[in-house]
């Protein structure tokens, strides 16, 4: 049973006041809302995800409700609640969907310490994962999107979930939020990609989500073996430059690009040490998809990097 099936059966008309329960990667999310635009986008982006009609033990109990009182109608707002807490200020009603996505990210990041969580895009090819840490200026979301439609399976554009004890990467495929210029870049480069509505004047500028390919949702419980860690940097006009970097440097940079490395203490250190040990580590500067995508494919299809 998928979300699309539920919607087709009319189970979501009139809102999911009783809560709709669905899979988000390894997690089960329950969303309670009467606001139809959020539900319709949920079904549009995640139609292929498993939905549950029998009781499940839920990881995230999320509610999106409009406030009672004047802010229900005047400069209308939407409030995000996880369990018993409202961690953020209300958003304008028109930004309800980005609020849901961002709120779910926050919920995952603050209570999933049974994983080492990297702030990274992750894509997979032939069972092996390419990890793209999200340094500022990396263009990681845009790059992840391009890879997702050109020969790679998207595991996540935001979270590299490294599980214990296997050290494998858990998928968490979500609608990819593109911002500002990237929206037009992807629209031009990937005409086959389906884009959702534009949300203007959010805290991050203009945001537009890419619908994740059906395949990556269907295979969202299929883990991958980490193989490459590539720190990307977008520099306008720069040729593609993929350079091996020392493991010690990769370790430090990745530790800084993790949601919970520090809190995990010794466990985090050991997990990260093991991850770096298994992967070839590179620094990447790029500007053109037509150049960087073949370079990454060649890296993936080539042999292992020389040296330790």
């Amino acid at each position: 049973m998928t979300l699309a099936d539920l919607a087709a059966a009319g189970a979501l008309t009139g809102g999911a006041a009783g809560g709709v329960c669905f899979r988000t990667g390894p997690f089960i999310t329950r969303l309670e809302t009467r606001f139809a635009p959020v539900l319709s986008l949920l079904v549009r982006f995640y139609g292929e995800t498993e939905a549950f009609t029998t009781p499940q033990i839920v990881n995230f109990n999320i509610a999106l409700h409009r406030p009672l009182g004047p802010r229900r109608w005047w400069r209308a707002q939407m409030r995000f609640r996880i369990e018993d807490t409202e961690p953020f200020e209300p958003y304008p009603l028109s930004h309800s969907y980005p609020l849901f996505e961002w709120g779910l990210n926050w919920s995952i990041a603050t209570r999933s310490n049974h994983y080492l969580m990297l702030h990274a895009g992750v894509v997979e090819r032939a069972g092996r994962a390419l990890i793209l840490p999200a340094v500022p200026g990396s263009g990681k979301s845009t790059l992840s999107t391009a890879l997702a439609f050109r020969g790679w399976r998207l595991l996540s554009d935001e979270f590299g979930l490294i599980e214990r004890p296997s050290g494998r990467v858990m998928p968490l495929p979500r609608a990819i939020p593109l911002k500002n210029r990237s929206i037009d870049v992807i629209r031009a480069y990937l005409p086959e990609a389906e884009l959702g509505p534009r949300f203007d004047k959010t805290r991050k500028g203009t945001v537009c989500h890419v619908r994740p390919p059906d395949d990556c949702i269907r295979r969202q419980q299929e883990t991958a073996e980490p193989a490459w860690i590539v720190f990307p940097r977008y520099v306008e006009g720069h040729p593609t430059d993929l350079i091996p970097i020392p493991k010690s440097l990769a370790f430090v940079r990745l530790a800084h690009n993790s949601f919970n490395y520090r809190v995990l203490g010794a466990t985090g250190f050991e997990q990260l040490r093991a991850l770096i040990g298994r992967c070839d580590c590179y620094s990447l500067t790029y500007s053109e998809f037509d150049s960087v995508l073949p370079a990454l494919a060649a890296m993936a299809d080539g042999g292992r990097q020389q040296g330790p």
């Binding site: 493991k247 430090v252 490395y261 203490g265």
Partner: protein
């Protein structure tokens, strides 16, 4: 911090250290503080020695000079002294209190 050559130095809870070993660099997780440090060869060797024995700065400096096949000179002594000072700031080692 008393910085003279006869000050005895010891590692702070080295049983809580976890090492990572890469080429010329070392990572160390210190369970006593929750901090992670990246060290080059020489500071790593200082820690390794102090985790095995309490030592004076003078003895340590001499050990390392012979290990690195370097002359015992004031510059070397200052270098090791500087490393001891930094490692103490990171709460990895401390002077022994009498």
């Amino acid at each position: 911090m008393a910085d003279n050559a006869s000050t005895q130095w010891q590692a702070i809870r080295p049983e809580l250290w976890i090492w990572a070993d890469w080429e010329a660099d070392y990572g160390i997780y210190d369970g006593g503080t929750g901090e992670t440090h990246l060290l080059s060869e020489l500071p790593a060797e200082v820690l390794r020695q102090l985790s095995r024995h309490v030592m004076t700065a003078a003895a340590l400096t001499a050990n390392l000079a012979s290990l690195c096949e370097v002359e015992m000179a004031p510059a070397w002594t200052r270098k090791i002294g500087g490393i001891l000072s930094e490692l103490a700031d990171l709460e990895l080692i401390e002077p022994v209190r009498l």
